[in-house]
Amino acid sequence: MITLHWVYALAGAIFAAYALLGARERPLNAAFWALLAVSMWAGDRLGDLGNGLLVLGLVCLGSVGLRSVGRLNRGDSAVAPALRQARADGFGNRLFVIALIIPATALAGTILFKAAPGWIDGRQATLIALALGVLIALAVGCLWLRTGPVVPLQQGRRLMDQVGWAAILPQMLASLGAVFALAGVGDVVGGIVSQAIPQGSLLGAVIAYALGMALFTMIMGNAFAAFPVMTVAIGIPLLIRTYHGDPAIVCAIGMLAGFCGTLLTPMAANFNLVPAALLELKDKHGVIRQQVGTAVPLLIVNILLIYWLAFP
């Protein structure tokens, strides 16, 4: 059966290619990608402490060596704009067809793999289909655009070096969340918040819950981490048990109040910082700045929706 481990093997191979292709130009970046390749290939055999040391290595390389990422790497292997324009005129809409192969394969694969279990791990259908889509797009791209297989890897490495250490930020923050959970940080925060609620006011309790979800999500970078804390501290004892709110409405919209917090925090790196690096924005908080105008009004709407809908 094809599982996520096949995808890890492919990802390891691609990170290894980034490392090899960049070894001479940017040895520190190359060492960083090589460590990620090791993690993808052998992470399950390294043991917990081994993986921990690998994380330390990535942090050292990332914080010392890759600091200039995003500015220095613009030039190398980039194709001149005039040549790109000429190629664009030549290839036309083929380029879009190839670009759409990945989402189309992910879409079709998710549906087909779930319908035909046994061959492919259904729980991971989308990620496996995504990897398959990458392979198909690469094959079609190389044939149709008449280039060798090194060109996409070389160009991929250039983009990867632009993203730099931000590439592992989401994974690092997920790991930090696990340490917070081990240390019981959530219980302490929940205790503080439940003491801070004004007594006897339903609207006050709703605001405390939704705002608490958004704020704690901003700190943790993840609404999933905030939800159990806030719901156990305020949602269940106060909104559901004392004020008899509908649990489905309180929790479903409470979670979405947390999502408003996700839009506002650099801790949600994969949504907010990584795209800024990927799009080569000068302001690494530029995406968050654009999201404030939607997230804040939407948080207020969520507070009102809980208040109006959940309480008979």
Binding site: Y8, L46, F91, V134, L159, P228, I236, C251
Partner: protein
């Protein structure tokens, strides 16, 4: 004491220290405050890092993006948008917002995303449309349009995905409530994601409409 790690995270991000170092420092301080020995903290961090590897799989799409960009994908996006006379950045991003919300609502969250669709397609098309609307774009305008493309992807994903029954957050809510003796079906939860999804569309759509009006001047 347990909150020391949170204080480090907040202070570290505000003072703009290197995020990787801030995260590591916060993990170590949090672990020490909770009475773990240093090796156990490193091991816990390593275990979690290994389990979260799927988060970093997405970088395998970069060779495809790089190949297409080297062959003129962004230039071609500009050519395409020139053919559609009514296309504006606001209308295009509103269209993408709907698609993203609908796809997420039927569980297809990884079909689009920043590396898969925003960098190769959405951002260049949005930039090309804005270029045509405003004539000449300043660097600040360009930054804003690209950031808005990424923001639109996030908003479409976040406020569509909870309508799907089997998404992680819905299952998390169900699991937590069950521990407190409240039994709910996923469908009962996911229908209540719809009002917020509509509100998100209206608020963000309104902002995109205003973006168009601002560019016209």
């Amino acid at each position: 004491m347990a909150l020391l790690g949170i204080a480090i995270i907040v202070a570290g991000f505000l003072l703009r220290f290197h995020p990787l170092l801030v995260i590591l420092a916060s993990a170590i301080v949090t672990g020490l405050a909770a009475g773990f020995d240093p090796l156990a903290i490193i091991a816990a961090l390593g275990k979690a890092f290994n389990e979260a590897r799927y988060v970093s799989i997405i970088w395998i799409v970069l060779p495809v993006v790089g190949l297409l960009e080297a062959n003129g994908l962004q230039e071609r996006a500009r050519g395409l948008i020139a053919q559609f006379h009514g296309a504006t950045v606001g209308r295009f991003l509103t269209f993408y917002l709907v698609i993203r919300q609908v796809l997420a609502a039927i569980g297809l969250t990884s079909v689009a995303g920043h590396p898969q669709t925003v960098r190769p397609l959405v951002a260049p098309i949005a930039e090309a449309a804005a270029e045509r609307q405003a004539g000449d774009l300043t660097d600040a305008d360009r930054e804003e349009i690209k950031a808005m493309a990424a923001a639109t992807d996030n908003i479409g994903l976040f406020f569509g995905e909870d309508i799907f029954l089997a998404i992680g957050s819905i299952l998390l809510i169900k699991g937590l409530l069950e521990q407190y003796g409240i039994s709910l079906e996923p469908l009962q939860l996911s229908v209540w994601a719809i009002p917020t999804a509509i509100a998100a569309f209206l608020i963000h759509g309104f902002r995109l409409w205003r973006l168009d009006r601002r560019l016209r001047r």
